[in-house]
Amino acid sequence: MLLGPSLVLSAILFSLGVAGVLLRRNALILFMCIELMLNAVNLAFIAFAQLYGMGGQIFVLFVMTVAAAEAAVGLAIILGIFRHRRSVDLQNMNLLQG
């Protein structure tokens, strides 16, 4: 039921997320884009769960849990960076440049 449209939506959301990660420089937006990608994947899981059983839905629960934990840690890091540098623009964060 609605498998095709669900997957299409999932793909569109995922691509939007990727595009956001690639194009935006604000760490917060980037973070939200990652969440968007995760949720696109979740949507795909749910859609496939109709065909392959409960496994997909349980996976979604795990993904959401991990995403919540990641959000907590990630936001803390972003906050730390902001306190430190008064900016969350990733363009300026190139300490790892070789």
């Binding site: 990727v18 990660v21 690639l22 194009l23 420089r25 980037l30 990733l90 363009q91 964060m93 190139n94 300490l95 790892l96 440049q97 070789g98």
Partner: protein
Amino acid sequence: MHWIWLAVALPVAGFLINGALSIWRPRATTAVSVVGPAVLIGAFVVVLAAFFQLLGAPPEHPIIVNYWSWIPVGDLQINFGFQIDQLSLVMLLVITGVGSLIHLYSVGYMKADPGYARYFSYLNLFVVFMLILVLGSSFTLLFVGWEGVGLCSYLLIGFWFTDKVNADAGKKAFLVNRIGDCGFLIAMFMIWRAFGSLDFATVLQRAPGVLGVAGPAVTAITLFLFLGCTGKSAQIPLYVWLPDAMAGPTPVSALIHAATMVTAGVYLIARTNVLFAMAPISSMIVAGIGALTALFAATIGLKQYDIKKVLAYSTVSQLGYMFLGVGTGAYAAGVFHLVTHAFFKALLFLGAGSVIHAMHEAYHASHSHEDAQDMRNMGGLRHYLPVTWVVMWVATLAISGFPLFSGFFSKDEILGASFARGAQFPIYYLFYAMGLIAALITAYYMARLMAMTFHGETRTSETERSHLHDAPLTMTGPLVVLAFLSLVGGVINLPAFIGGGAGLEHWLEPVTAPAAEFFRLQVAEGATEWLLIGAAVVIGLLGLVWGYLATVRRQIVPAREAQPDVGLASLVFHKYYIDEIYDALVVRPLVWLSRVVLWRGVDQGLIDGVAVNGSARLSRGLGWVGSRLQSGQVGFYVILFMIGALWILRVVVG
């Protein structure tokens, strides 16, 4: 015979004790004076015991005593073993006998030297290696001794190393010997390839079966062995180190550079006689080089003023005689001359040492800085050093081949053998003639040496004359014993024409028998023999009288006032500029090659530049390329990540 190790162990103990004393108790001269000679005399006694045991029942085959397995590598099994036979016993007797006398002499000669204990530790160590050299039952063990005596020679030539000249002389001896040793090593490799063994017993026994007579293999092996001999025994073209080796203390010159070490090459050829007998071309080269060296070195001796330099060239020349002997196939004659030469040349050197000792003390007393070794400063010393004078004349007559002295028999035998071999290969007649001329020159320069040193006007000043005197008993004692041996040393091998039994020749027969299967020398008998002897005697006497008269009649001025020689005399005085020629042809190109090609090119360019710094530069460059990936931009990382993820997806799905 298992106990023969004692003969080696005693000098080892002497080396250790004297070495320890030289480090911790350098003033304990009395202990050194006792230990140094005592261990040698002990070794001599051991050797005598072995000799008398074998004298009763001479063995047909060498007695081989294996002590332990030394180098067991796959098919190569080398034992640390000693080989006792007639030849090694002769050598052992010479080394420990003459060695004991020289050790005793050294007690007097070196007493005042601050390095007294060090001197004796080196001297003992030398005897250790020399004994290993002649006792070793394999080429490998012989080589250990061969290198060991080279080391001790180096240490003793440069004994007074604070003088750069002496240190350089030591280095020269060491380096020149390396060339010869390289040949020896190649010969050993070839022997191992051919026989799969390096034991004398195996190699010499199987040689006729494995190697073809006069074939390329045996010729190459013997020539490489002979290259080793030319280094160690100072033959053309590698003789140049020996005259310089006179920088060492005089007893060292007597022991190492006259009586024992330099004869190692003759011993090696006598030991491997069957190989040389199978290679007539090699034998001819050995004899030719020997004859040429005998003649060439003798001519240089004519114009030397340093008393030790004359004797050094004389040694080179006499070693040439020995090689002429063994190259002719007269192995017993070569060894015979080796023995008699050990007596009279050791005596000559020790006598020269006694003269130098006296001159040195006299100059020391008068605070003069004249050269105590220059014969032009001596003259008329017979009044002040009568004992030395008499024994030196004995040695001179012996080396000149004066009838019934030891050198007469041995030299005569070599020349006779060379003449006899001429029937087979006419070139040996030429070698004979060269030997004969060399005998004339030998007699001449020896008479010149005696006349300049002991006869004529005394060219020292009044103050010095009162200090000239014979050496103490520890020095004159060995001189007298050696003089006796030089006088009667011929009895060990009296030829048949005066009713002798050729003792040494028969004694050595078990050793030389394998070679005798390839040819037998038909030594002249009857009228021809007497003619040859007569020629040698006349030539020797002519040289003696001529040399003596020519020198005594001439006005000799002390070295300080002497005019430099001109013309041919200058050429000979400068040793035909051989050292300079070698310097220009070998040393300088080698130094250039080492400095420019090997040092700047290979070492600094290739190893430092390409290998060491190059690898560092390469990894730094690669690191720079890799570091371009680390832009620090998160977006860039994500793109790469995406590309990677898509690529994996493609591989997995597609």
